[in-house]
Amino acid sequence: MHKEGVAGFPYYLGVNSLSELATKDDKVVVFNILGKESSGVTPVSHEYSGGNIVFGTGPGKSGKSLSTKAGKIPVYNSIQEGMAAGHEFNTAVVYLPPSGVKDGVAEAVRCNPKLKKVIVLTEKVSVKDSRVMRAICQTNGVDLFGGNCLGVADSWNHVRLGGALGGNHPEESLIKGSVALFSNSGNFTTTIAVYLSTAGWGTTTSISSGKDVYIHYGPQEFIHAFNNDDRSQASIVYCEPGGYYEHGLKSDKPIIACVVGRWKAKLTKSCGHAGSLSGSGDDAEAKEKWFMDYFGVKDIYTPENPVFSKKGALVTNIAHIPEALTAVMKLNGKKPDFEPRGNLSLKCWFGNNNGAVLPKELDVQQVEAIDPYNGQIDALKQQVGAQVSRETLKDASGASKMDPKTQVSQIHNVSILDASNKTFEDNLVFALTHSYPSASGTSMANAVLNAYVNLHGQPALAAATASREAGNSPNTVQAGAVSIIGKKKAQKAMDAAEALLDIFKLTDLNDPEGTFDYKSLVKGASGHKDALLGVAADPKAAKVLDVCKSKSKSVFIDFLVDFAKEQKGHVSMDSIVAAVWATLAWPSLRSKKISKTTLVRLPWYSLIYSTMVGVAAPEGKHGADSFCGVKNDDLLTNSFTRTAFLSLMGRDASEGELFEFQVLLGLIITNGPGTISAQGSKGAVSADGPEQPDRVQVNKGFIGFLTHTGFAHGGNGYEAAAFLIDQFKDTALKDPADAKHGVDLEKLAVDYAKWYGAYKQEQKGLGHLEYAKIPCVNHPVFKGKDVNVDPREEYVSKLFKDKGLYNVFLDFYHHLVEGLFKAKVTKNVYCVNVDAVIAVILLKMLWSDYKKGSIKEEDIEWASFMAFLFGRMIGCAAEIDDHTNRGKNMDTRTPASKVTYVG
């Protein structure tokens, strides 16, 4: 049963021409106007159409309104209420949730005899509801559109009914022209309109039909209205498999059909559009044939094989529509509506290889985006550096993690095994910039790090000395010194960093170690004079500058020098530190790996790094002109690894020792965010409130780390050293690096294993289960096999072997685990764990002095602990910076509900 409409249709159809589909006379009511979807889309439609929406509904929302630039749209509880208020409408747009759509349509039809069009935007309307609401509309002479459509729009009438055709800037896509557009896809309705404009074609009426099982306003209706629309000279029909809607279409005017979805023939359930599920005879190939038969062509139109007739062409790629249309229209003697706008070639708006080398054909370069997107992209340049979303970082970190399977920790996705192949200074830079420096960068980093190691006459050294003399452990001594390195100590250098950032942030500078024309910046930076230049010449600054300029290339350093000349001022030490760190960090800032906050605060970290290495040497090693016997000027060109060794051991290192020392420090960098030291640093940041990063005290973060180390965490490396000393003290071992040491390691190991076996048995017999364990053998993860290996220890052993570096203590450990098995103390061969590596490296360095009696066991313990602090300083610096940038205020606290009282 249906009302009589346009003649010739077996069902009701009211719209006779596309020109009457969306007009200025249409008055619209929007169901659920204040819903998320509608409240975003409706104002744009209202404004675009010159204010065609008379009211909206929202149960319980009567009296509210939806603001638009074309005025407020009143909201009523119901249609009935809105009509009672005197509003009249002929079109209902439905944004109700699926279960309410049918009832909403029924209500609109029931209440308003003048209703002519209903447009259902809602997706996932059930087929049952769809068939029922169609029947209601049919009976009452109402044209139904959708569901799951985006409505209709008319470029000539400047009217959009229903959804969001053309998005939030309809004018961009809905360009007046001569082509009528019908599409199963809402998105493609807009996309095809944009594509058409690239060939100079505009649109008349665009219809997004939806592609549910029921398409209420289908291609037959569209083509009928198209035939009666004088404005439309051609039409585009985009369709997908499923349904017979396109069967038997006919027109006197050209049609370009686009059928997509051959692959859907293998679907057993819908994917994408609900109605794109073909039965027998209505799959994509069948539809292609319908159109080809109608057009009288034998093939699909492609640019390579342009097959078309006066009646039209079939394409299977929407990108081919404009070309096919132009060809067909030319045959019909019709020209495009306007000059082509743009083209459809590949245009890259954003791209980055991120270090990978791409073949030329894939290395597509960025081009300027079309208006208005180019302006928006330009505006992005104002946003310098990473902007990380803040989250609760309790027991979490964006800097470090430990793989529970391999037990190998990572810092910024680099395993500590790989990090241990890098120098101390490179790892210190990497912790904060997330990138390893170039050789040139390393030289600069060494210069500024070494420049602050000698603390002669400095309060930090006095604090450390006082703390040391009071009998404190190394971490406590360090904490005392670091507490003196407050914000004011680094403020000038940070001001300089801020100034450099301000001057360069909007430039195209990407590689500060390359060439860059900064002349105009020199002229324009006078406002930063106080931040960048000192009032008097600083001899130390001059020397550091010389080192930096002789060994490295830095745009920032060059800029400072030229700026000082321009301003007739002096480059200060603070600005050099800022410039060096800006050079090291700039590529990471540009690639959004680090934030502006980090870049500005790098000098503070740098000063703390230097202080911690410096105070490891006792006060007497800090002279006015030298540090540990090395002239201050000579120190500037040292590798910072060598300086750290010097500070710790009081002597210079051999090349082999330097490598072993670097590996030692690398292995200690991190054990993930769960370690006490990391937790200490993170807690300190959290308590300062990282949501205001300026208030986070970097030195306090380090103090947090330092106070969360101790004799059990950091100082325990000594246990293994003490064990080894015990084993070797009565041997004739002179040089632990000499493979021909003359010590029978196998015997030593087996003898000890036998003794230990007896001891263990005795203790167990006595019920003492807390008997002494052998340090650094066995591991809770790397166990259970016949022969067990800690992959980290294996990696380092191989590293040393490859470098020809022998270590008798490590060799002994390997004999020991075998000896324990042979003596039946262990059921299988235990692994030598990575802590042993740390102990054996350290003891090897100190053995000679120990044997000579120039150092005592407590000195070994001190050095062992201090070395741990050096290494862990790298990891904790990364945690402090990460938590400052990513964490939330007080996010490391444990809620009261999660803690337990055990008293």
């Binding site: 493609f188 209505d282 990978a356 791409l358």
Partner: protein, 422 residues
């Protein structure tokens, strides 16, 4: 979401009291089978497939027996039978024993929603028991009817009259067939097919007895849930991945997925039904999945979708291809932010992996969304290219495929190197 066969069909038919053959499931005992043979003289043994599997008879997957020994033999043969339809292979898990219904007439009957008439349609013929596609149109009656009033006796009567059906079958069918509209309409069906209905001579009066059953449900209509069918009945239609994604269907926005090639190397979160049709077509076997995540999904849903998708498919993917046309109302910032966070989550959980990201998109908040994704990819060190909506979607697809080819031929190693993956 289909049901084929009488094991579950009988339960549905019973709801509307439509006569049916006697059916037992795989649990039927020897005694029961014996009794069925005694009662019906003939027994049909059919494999039980979950989901929609048709044309079992043509595939030799129906056993017809008249003694216990053969019945047990057929049970053994068909219990784990496989059925192949194109590339799709389905394995049965059980059999049904269906009592034979002696009859002189076989009827074909179905109800579907017709896209020609845009209303429900009954298709009927008294030349049933064969493939409906094989019958000439004049032997079929296709009758559209009003969904508000439903299928009525006169629809059946008129149709059978027009076909010249034997008079003795008309009255019993007129009395019984309209009941099937209740089943179709009340439980959210998209298709209901009984073929054959055998006209059993019950002491001189014919009774229509349904001997096979097929129906499909509308997954957007919750009415089928009232049938309390077991959860796993439809689950076999979907892969584990599809099932996990399907749980998000309740939210706003699309979340349709279909596994294309479980050895594919391009994973393409696709936005829009049109893009879904086109992208999947052009990616072909390179694609892992076909998807439609359009419809302006909120952040939470998109992030959940991303995590599930990445968890299943990124390990094998060379290219993550985010593709859609110029969105009308999908917020690009929200969807890109959700996916970018999903990528970050994946890298945090599973470590870095060699990946290239290609994007083709347009729509509201496009540049904000692209910028967020760009920053995330930069921070993770992943190479990428983003194209705006003024690049032809097919060209962007071709670029993604070219990247995939390069990845297969050394590109993966190159990115591993740049990401410092050993």
């Amino acid at each position: 979401m289909q049901i084929t066969g009488m094991l579950w069909g009988r339960k549905l038919l019973d709801l509307v009291e439509f006569p049916r053959s006697e059916v037992r499931g795989p649990e039927a005992s020897v005694e029961e089978i014996k009794a069925m043979i005694k009662k019906h003289k003939q027994l049909f043994i059919k494999p039980f497939f979950k989901g929609g599997v048709g044309k079992k008879g043509k595939s030799g997957l129906i056993g017809r027996v008249d003694n216990l020994q053969d019945a047990l033999k057929e049970k053994e043969r068909l219990y784990f039978a496989t059925h192949q339809d194109g590339n799709r292979i389905t394995k049965s898990n059980g059999v049904t024993f269906e009592g034979g219904v002696p009859a002189d007439h076989e009827i074909y009957f179905s109800i579907t929603d017709s896209t020609v008439y845009r209303t429900p349609c009954m298709t009927i013929t008294h030349h049933g028991g064969v493939d409906i596609e094989e019958l000439p149109p004049e032997k079929l009656a296709v009758v559209p009817f009003d969904p508000l009033t439903g299928l009525k006796s006169f629809h059946v009567s008129n149709a059978l009259d027009s076909l010249g059906a034997p008079k003795e079958i008309i009255s019993p069918l007129v009395q019984n067939l309209p009941k099937l509209w209740d089943l179709y309409n009340n439980y959210g069906m998209l298709m209901l097919e009984l073929n054959p209905i055998r006209m059993f001579n019950n002491g001189g009066r014919l009774t229509p007895v349904a001997c096979d059953f097929k129906c499909a449900f509308d997954q957007d209509d919750p009415a089928w849930k009232r049938l309390h069918l077991p959860d796993d009945l439809f689950a076999s239609d979907d892969s584990e991945f599809e099932q996990e994604i399907n749980q998000l269907r309740t939210y706003q926005g699309q979340s349709d997925v279909f596994v294309i090639n479980d050895e594919g190397t391009i994973t393409a979160p696709t936005f829009g039904g049109g893009a879904n049709a086109m992208v999947t077509e052009l990616l072909g076997e390179d694609a892992t999945i076909s998807s439609d995540f359009g419809g302006n999904p909120p952040y939470v849903k998109m992030n959940d979708i991303s995590k599930i998708t990445f968890k299943y498919w990124l390990p094998q993917s060379n290219v993550l291809f985010i593709i859609g046309g110029k969105a009308n109302n999908t917020d690009i910032f929200e969807t890109f932010r959700a996916m970018a966070d999903g990528i970050k989550w994946y890298f945090q959980q599973h470590g870095p992996q060699p990946l290239f990201v290609v994007v083709g998109r347009g729509g509201p908040n496009l540049i904000r969304g692209m910028a967020y994704l760009r920053d995330t990819l930069d921070s993770l060190g992943i190479p990428y290219r983003f194209f705006g909506h003024d690049s032809a979607m097919s060209e962007v697809i071709n670029y993604a495929r070219a990247v995939n080819r390069w990845m297969k031929n050394g590109g993966k190693e190159e990115i591993k190197k740049s990401l410092n993956i050993k």
